[in-house]
Amino acid sequence: MNEEAGMTTQPKILLVDDEVAITSNLAPFLERAGFRVAVAADGEAALARVADFGPDLVVLDILMPQLDGRQVLRELRRAGNWTPVILLTQVGESTERAMALEEGADDYLNKPFDPHELVARIRAVLRRARPGQRPLASARRLISGDLVVDRLPRRAYVGGRELQLTPKAMALLEYMMMHADELLSRDRLLDAVWGWDYPVGTRTVDTRIAELRRALDDDPADPVFVETVTGQGYRFVGPVEAEG
């Protein structure tokens, strides 16, 4: 999408949450941020709105009566609908996070979140989106040069050699590849991969990045995969392709 198109056509967002207090406050905020917004209060309504509103992106709460967010997402993907989805996660974060990845959510955000952060995420996901195509988030394999990440068995290979990674480093690699070319602040990585806003943040991330770099044999001074953006965070710089 070029800048001009972005200015003239307002992206359409479908906001799905059963809590009226949330949708009634969040919808106007998203509208003011430049989106066209439709609201659905449950999973059934969400599927119906996806069909008639044709959103560019769905913000989907997980815990809802009847059809929950996870089932909606599964239903969409099964029907071959690749509309980007941002999940609002709630209980049992770590398991939910893994599910979200496996079922092809493009990003996720913990409640309660800063609404400005939601807008930033929506913009980032829309920038990456390739309309009608399978997003990286629902690919079985992520490939960057000779690095291959097999997502379901959670294994990574470089030139056919399997990498020995801790589960946390593996999740970090996966998340970074899915958000390739995006500047990822340490706080965002903590929130997304760890699910905890550690008071001690930065070092925790740095330690795992160092582990990844050692495993990938990636030179921080001349990175093929992970670049340090001084004072801001990290960026996965390799081109990433989806397979399967």
């Binding site: 809590e19 207090a21 969040l26 049992g92 309660p112 801790t166 589960p167 699910g195 550690y198 001690v200």
Partner: protein, 307 residues
């Protein structure tokens, strides 16, 4: 089997052994007619049977007594597990019930902040926002506690020396030591501190929380010492300070969730830091201990099993 129950079994089996020994002697003695009992039985066998009977009675009494003990212990374990489960579910529900309203309030505040008609209310909005963020942090800490007890634990060798070096470095970055003497002591002889199996992130969080407390509750001129040592079964990580210490009557309560001591009133924090430390240590099969003297300082020890 414990030493005590082994001893009881010996007592129970003693009559049988005595019976056997007596019988083996008496079998050699000439058979005597028993005028009262019609059954003819040699004295050796009679003693053996008596010994057997007494042993059987004692054994079954002991067995049922031990079974009762086991049942009682099992019931207590079950009650404990149940209580822990209920507490966890309560924390999850509380967290969940707080999350949605907080999300709505944050969105509402963002709307108010962006409304040009309310431009004069900037300071008020900021004030409310700060409090909402504080509540959000509290819910996230509650979630951590609830999650800690059930999330899968990454168990890999954690280099304790490296862990403490990093925690001290972060503490130095985050809170300028402000005239405190912060030292890290790691033994080298006869060998360096070994690693412990565990979850790096969690152990880091626990250590950092201890260090953060020491920094928060001490002042200029105070000493803070971080050290580690092992005794063959455990690695002990200690964080000690020469801060104001904790009044004696408050010490047992410092591990409780949301407890904040008199001294802590003016200090930022959620009251969940030490509860988290204890939960992390216990998930690793370890323990924590706090000793403090008012006016002298505090030392917290976290013991983690070597395997």
């Amino acid at each position: 089997m414990t030493l005590k129950s082994a001893r009881l079994w010996i007592v129970a089996l003693l009559p049988l052994v005595a019976g056997l020994a007596a019988a083996s002697l008496l079998w050699d003695v000439e058979m005597v007619n028993n005028p009262v009992v019609a059954v003819r039985i040699d004295l050796g066998s009679a003693v053996l049977v008596a010994g057997l009977a007494v042993s059987a009675v004692l054994s079954s009494a002991l067995g049922s007594w031990q079974a009762a003990g086991r049942r009682c212990r099992a019931q207590m374990d079950e009650a404990r597990t149940q209580a822990a489960g209920e507490r966890r579910r309560f924390l999850q529900r509380l967290d969940h019930e707080l999350k949605n309203p907080l999300t709505a309030i944050r969105a509402g505040l963002a709307n108010v902040a962006g409304d040009p008609g309310l431009a004069g209310q900037g300071e008020t909005v900021k004030g409310i926002e700060a409090q909402v963020v504080r509540l959000s942090r509290l819910t996230s800490d509650l979630r951590k506690l609830a999650e800690l007890e059930e999330r899968p634990l990454e168990r890999r060798p954690v280099d304790v020396a490296q862990l403490l070096e990093e925690a001290v470095a972060v503490a130095r970055d985050q809170a300028p030591a402000g005239g405190r003497r912060l030292t890290l002591t790691l033994p080298q002889a006869p060998w360096p501190v070994p690693s412990v199996p565990g979850d790096w992130d969690l152990l880091f969080l626990a250590t950092y929380n201890l260090l953060d407390n020491a920094l928060k509750f001490s002042g200029e001129g105070d000493a803070i010492e971080v050290r580690a040592f092992e005794d063959g079964t455990f690695v002990a990580i200690e964080v000690a300070d020469t801060g104001p210490g904790i009044p004696r009557d408050e010490i047992p309560r410092v591990w409780q969730e949301l407890y904040r001591g008199e001294e802590a009133r003016g200090v930022p924090g959620s009251g969940l830091g030490l509860a988290l430390v204890r939960a992390i240590a216990e998930r690793h099969g370890g323990r924590v201990r706090l000793r403090s003297r008012a006016g002298q300082g505090t030392v917290v020890t976290m013991r983690l099993p070597l395997r």
